[in-house]
């Protein structure tokens, strides 16, 4: 529908980084927007604690941020997917002539993660949360984009005939 420049993403492994940093247990999704982009001493201040309580099969953790109590749970990234931290590749050294459409969106993989801990304020984590429900898209997408075989077609037409 839309054709925009810069939709091509060039992903590269960070140079000299065969062993990517694993951020297991360190990726958090907070129910707020922090108007800051940069390093911070997160592990000294943000101290999630397991509660030992399980809700809907989710293991509850609790933490505090800016005086608010957060309730969260660690979610593994679904099978077949991985989490990556990407950084814009430094293009300063390149010539201006290289900055064609394709090259301008060049990203580097800086770290990986296999789980995300997402946090709610005031509400227990639940399978009804948009964050967990967003993973539904992965299975829908899989079915949508799966190549249609001849068998699929014939079985579908048989079903249609029966319905008719």
């Amino acid at each position: 529908m839309m054709h925009e420049e810069g939709t091509i993403i060039d992903l590269r492994q960070s140079e000299g980084g065969a062993d990517l940093v694993d951020l297991g247990g360190k990726v958090h999704q907070l129910p707020c927007s922090i108007k800051y982009d940069g390093p911070s001493s997160v592990s000294h201040y943000f101290k999630p604690k397991p509660t030992g309580i399980e809700v809907e099969g989710l293991e509850l953790q609790e933490a505090y941020f800016r005086g608010r109590k957060l309730q969260g749970t660690a979610i593994p990234i679904p099978q077949g997917y991985s989490g990556f931290v990407l950084g814009k590749k430094n293009l300063v050294k390149r010539k201006a002539s290289d900055m064609s459409e394709g090259n301008s969106n060049c990203w580097e993989v800086n770290a990986k993660f296999r789980d995300v801990t997402y946090w709610n304020h005031d509400i227990l984590p639940s399978h009804d949360d948009a964050f967990l429900r967003s993973f539904h898209w992965l299975s829908v997408a899989k079915v949508l984009h799966k190549p249609v075989t001849a068998e699929d077609l014939s079985s579908a037409s048989i079903t249609l005939q029966k319905m008719g």
Partner: protein, 297 residues
Amino acid sequence: MGSEDPLPKWASKPCIMGIDEAGRGPVLGPMVYGCLYCARSYQKTLSSLNFADSKTLKEEKREELFENLKSDESIGWAVDVIDPKELSAKMLKKNKINLNEISHDSAIGLVRRVLNMGVLLTEVYVDTVGDAEKYRIKLSERFPAIKFVVAKKADSLFPVVSGASIVAKVTRDRALREWVLDETADNMHRNFGSGYPGDPGTKAWLEHHKHLVFGFPSLVRFSWGTCAPYFKDIVEVLWESDKTDEDGSSSGNGKRQLKLSNVGFTTSKRKSEEIESSGKGRCKFFQARKLEQLTYF
């Protein structure tokens, strides 16, 4: 924390109890509710023990009196230490619980605890928080068998409340002295001062411990108005749970409670799209899951 088992014999005779608080005003540290109880027949002796209102006594004197009453077998006591994290969290909930409610709940909890121990409470004296008569009715409805006396300055009127105020104040002071900070950053120290907003030691501690992203260590009551000036130059944080309150008028919170809109936490111009993705304009499947299509990032 409180008196140890076994239950003394006098506890099955009619007993009186006093309840008082310490650390309601401070911007940091726990709030402590304390109670002291004894047989009604011990009331006269109690008056001779020189428990004045804890605030009028020097710290060493309070400590001494606390040790005396702990060793007095005719007296029982208990405390409820409310963590500053709990105070902040309750006061910053979406449905805010104000400090008066937290105080009432704590006092009710103490009465219940002492009753459950098997002490025959017949009269309970309470230093008031908020309107005395409303508070008395609230307590009486929960414990119809007990006669409640709720009064301003009960700690200087009734020796049993003065005793409770010593229990509370000494416990609060000790808790703050021995406080272990959750945060583990370097160059933090524990010279908190008294914790009262006007205390130069407390002001210096707050100034030294403010953090660009995290605000303060969790010892601080974030919901206190005193924090507002310190938050002026820290990073702005917009909460998903605040966005529905934006156009509504602010609900009647306690006056100590911080109006978030005044300190740049939220402004009415903000749109929720800035806080979270919306899936706006897409089909329902995506909207319900807040899945937005990103073509540029």
